[in-house]
């Protein structure tokens, strides 16, 4: 890797005119893309605001950017906003951590004992294909309308897929790399710790990127059905009492939170693969 860097830096010392032109063109293109992206956002917000102002759509039903901003300001002042975001974030992170931990653990067990893997295979496939929202009402009955239900619902959304993906990634490790560990006098534990797990760190991270989104989906479904707080609760409660400002605001904040969580994991992925 350091070799590549050296090569690049030695080339950048004597840039030809053609190279300069190429780089300039690239910069211009990137800038143009940013401008168009910005125009779409501003245009959408402006169109929405103006439509409610001149009465094309009813801001009572459709809310409006200014009403959303006002709601955000109000709820920031009385502290409710951070309370709801905090609850949703907490539930998401707990579910996310548990999904990864349990998923990894079960995948290791299945890799370790092929008979267990074979026995459980049909059950995993059924559980993975089952729409998990169908289970949420059952969880409410079993666990009560509380945070426990929400976290269990969120875990159920991502867990089975994670197990199946990780297990098949573990099994895809090159047979000769495993043989190598045995020729060096190692045992199955060494194969796991020296080859299978380190070889699968990239796939574990990309799985985590999927899981953070799925955990959020699961938490919102859970909050729809069984919450007294959180962004999902705000959305469902807001729609029931016709406070569409709350609903739209929650959706906007949710998209920011989702993007933020994804970006954090992308950052770790980049740092690891460097």
């Amino acid at each position: 890797m350091s070799r590549k860097n050296r090569k690049v830096s030695s080339e950048s010392l004597n840039i030809s005119a053609a190279q300069k032109a190429y780089v300039r063109k690239h910069i211009l293109r990137t800038r143009r893309i940013r401008i168009y992206q910005f125009i779409i956002l501003i245009g959408f917000i402006a169109f929405w605001e103006i439509s409610t102002l001149i009465g094309i759509v009813d801001s009572f039903i459709f809310s409006s950017p200014s009403r959303v901003v006002k709601t955000i300001a109000e709820m920031t002042v009385n502290g409710q906003l951070f309370y709801h975001i905090g609850i949703t974030l907490l539930e998401t992170l707990i579910s996310f951590a548990l999904v990864n931990l349990v998923g990894l653990l079960v995948a290791v067990i299945l890799w370790w004992n092929d008979s267990i893997a074979k026995v459980l295979e049909p059950y995993l496939i059924v559980l993975n294909s089952l729409p998990k929202s169908a289970l949420a009402p059952v969880f409410i009955v079993w666990l009560g309308a509380n945070m426990k239900t929400i976290i269990v619902a969120a875990i159920s959304v991502a867990l089975f897929g994670s197990i199946i993906t990780l297990h098949s990634d573990f099994k895809a490790v090159e047979e000769d790399k495993i043989k190598l560990i045995y020729t060096l006098g190692g045992n199955k534990k060494d194969v796991l710790l020296k080859v299978v797990l380190p070889a699968n760190i990239p796939s574990l991270i990309s799985l985590m990127k999927v899981n953070i989104g799925l955990s959020l989906v699961g938490v919102i479904i859970g909050e729809f059905l069984a919450a007294k707080a959180g962004l999902g609760y705000l959305i469902i409660y807001g729609s029931q009492v016709f406070r569409l400002d709350w609903v739209i605001m929650s959706i906007v904040i949710l998209s920011i939170v989702a993007t933020g969580l994804y970006k954090v994991l992308s950052y770790f992925e980049k740092r690891y693969s460097k």
């Binding site: 890797m1 350091s2 000769d176 020729t183 060096l184 006098g185 020296k194 070889a199």
Partner: protein
């Protein structure tokens, strides 16, 4: 030279649902201490199976393997095994790769680094200690793999077509390299290859295996009249082509038989 390894009437059969495949049938030979033994045979004659048996990764269906007269498992002797590819782990530096075996066998201590650095230095890898495998050339990777094996101080080295993944020119260089290292460290080695020239150029003795199920067809003692023999110089010995023709005939004879 005293006898180090004895393969005594070994057979091995693979089983799967389609049926059983005998890979080796009644194979017997011995290897002397400090000897370089070459084994050639047509592809699919059970060569790799033979090495896996000697390495103790598989148990023979029948027959026994003795080291210094003791059974393989109870001999407590170390067998080093070099696979076809170097299999350096991408996420480990050269240093961490060569110490992998010691790490697994819990032999790594502060003192080991003197020996590790010495080997890395002798075989031209010291400046690449912190580099990752992707930054090493094919020859360097193969040397790193050999050092990884040598650090476990094996009594016998098994080489399973260790050069087959390299291009021809690198292959000749690495063969010289690896052969030199093995001679210098005074190791006993068994080389498996389907390349007749490679077997003659490196070995003191060459065993020809028959087509599957593999069995010992003939044994050739290789004596070449070159001073300061290296695998590369051995290729220019006057006897070289005679051995080549003999072994070639033996292998083709096998083919016709089947």
């Amino acid at each position: 030279m005293s006898e180090l390894l004895r393969i005594d009437h070994i057979s091995y059969t693979y089983h799967n649902l389609e049926g059983e495949t005998p890979a080796l049938m009644d194979v017997s030979f011995h290897v002397n201490d400090g000897e370089f033994l070459g084994i050639v045979g047509p592809s699919g004659c059970g060569k790799s199976t033979l090495l896996s048996l000697i390495a103790g990764l598989l148990n023979p269906s029948s027959g026994s393997i003795y080291i210094n007269g003791k059974d393989l498992k109870s001999s407590g002797k170390n067998i080093g095994y070099m696979l076809q590819k170097d299999h350096l782990l991408d996420w480990r530096s050269t240093l961490k790769n060569v110490t992998l075996g010691m790490e697994i066998q819990h032999k790594l201590s502060g003192n080991s680094y003197v020996q590790i650095n010495e080997l890395l230095n002798t075989y031209g890898l010291i400046t690449f200690k912190q580099s990752y495998p992707s930054e090493l050339s094919g020859g360097m990777r193969q040397r790193a793999a050999l050092i990884r094996t040598l650090l476990l101080e094996p009594d016998i080295l098994l080489l399973d077509e260790p050069f087959s993944a390299l291009d021809y020119q690198t292959r000749l260089e690495v063969a010289d390299d690896i052969w030199g290292i093995i001679r210098k460290e005074k190791k006993t080695a068994i080389l498996i290859t389907h390349d007749i020239s490679e077997a003659i150029s490196m070995s003191d003795r060459v065993i020809v295996l028959s087509h599957r199920p593999g069995t010992v067809k003939r044994v050739f003692d290789i004596s070449l009249s070159v001073a300061d023999r290296t695998p590369f110089l051995a290729r220019s010995a006057p006897e070289f082509k005679d051995y080549f023709n003999l072994i070639w005939k033996e292998l083709n004879h096998n083919e016709q038989e089947k």
